[in-house]
């Protein structure tokens, strides 16, 4: 049979997911990601939602190593 090839999976591009179906999940994921990134990368730097330095100090090493500007 000519349809059997040596490749385990033939290279066929998957069908695109309609953008209208992606949109709500993209909005949800993006908002969640921005909140998480803010607390890891920027909280108690230029802006602070929680007073003090505890959040900043807790993620201190990560903030430096992940490349965020830090004090």
């Amino acid at each position: 049979m000519s349809s059997i090839t040596a490749l385990p999976t033939p290279v066929t591009a998957p069908a695109p997911i309609p953008l209208r179906q992606i949109l709500p999940w993209a909005a949800f994921g993006a908002v969640l990601a921005v909140v998480l990134l803010y607390f890891v990368g920027a909280e108690q730097g230029v802006t602070a939602l929680i007073s003090g330095e505890t959040v900043h100090e807790f993620v201190h090493d990560g903030r430096h190593l992940l490349g965020f500007p830090c004090h």
Binding site: P16, L19, Q21, G29, A42, V59, H64, G67
Partner: protein, 248 residues
């Protein structure tokens, strides 16, 4: 394949990538950080007698749970955004598999999110930043990040547009060169920031920055490769299920 499945998978894979990045950062990044803090303390104004330095979070916590938490949370956030990018590009950037798409998107993400900002405003170890300029540095860093992401997206969109006329190789080269020119102009025009104090060991700065870039490389490669593997596996399972003869 649904957007929801991809998003959930991206966030879970992101957590795993965060753990991998934490291990790398702990092994290669903590040494330079400790050396930089030692430099900072040696050059700080001496404390008055009887005064103690108030440590809000201990170094042990910062270098273990703190670093791990930051890496994993960062990984989950990146994983979610990465999954959305894969969901959009899947089947829209030529005849390549889901696994290859995930790999390419991760490469693009590493370049746009980590490498381009790093070229202009590289990661700085403790003791090398002036707190007074933090606002300006934060603004410039995020501007460079936006430029990096925009350049990468622009390269993909332009390559895709040119592909039917010039072929895959030529279109990709043209798109990439265009993005590199845009990034080059931004690097040349944006103000430089150099607050590394005199006497700070150049080798230490180099080691820290290499560790920082390595942490990002580990994060993105884990994200792209593991996400691609899992997506291909679930595609195959779905294909097998579809191919099963219906037994009454």
């Amino acid at each position: 394949m649904s957007a929801r499945t991809l998003l959930v998978r991206g966030m879970i894979v992101g957590a795993v990538a965060g753990v991998a990045a934490f291990l790398f950062a702990y092994l290669f990044g903590e040494g330079p950080i400790n050396d930089a803090i030692a430099f900072e303390e040696a050059h700080a104004a001496p404390l008055a007698p009887g005064e103690h330095e108030h440590e809000l979070v201990s170094r042990t916590v910062q270098s273990t749970i703190g670093l791990a938490t930051a890496s994993v949370v960062y990984g989950v956030a990146l994983g979610g955004l990465f999954a959305i990018a894969v969901a959009v590009t899947l089947g829209r950037i030529g005849r390549i598999s889901a696994r290859a798409t995930a790999g390419l998107v991760a490469l693009a993400g590493f370049v746009g999110v980590a490498l381009v900002p790093f070229l202009k405003y590289p990661a700085n170890p403790p003791a090398t930043g002036n707190p007074d300029s933090l606002q300006q540095r934060t603004g410039l860093y995020f501007l460079m990040l936006v430029i990096g992401v925009a350049a990468v997206i622009g390269a993909i969109v332009v390559s895709r547009q040119l592909q039917p006329r010039f072929g895959t190789w030529n279109a990709t080269i043209a798109g990439t060169v265009g993005a590199a020119v845009v990034v080059g102009i931004a690097v040349a025009l944006l103000p430089a920031v150099n607050e590394v104090p005199d006497g700070f060991a150049p080798v230490l700065l180099w080691q820290f920055r290499l560790a920082s870039l390595g942490t990002q490389a580990v994060m993105w490669s884990t994200l792209g490769l593991l996400f691609g593997y899992l997506t291909e596996r679930s595609e195959r399972t779905a294909a097998v299920v579809r191919a099963q003869p219906v037994t009454a």
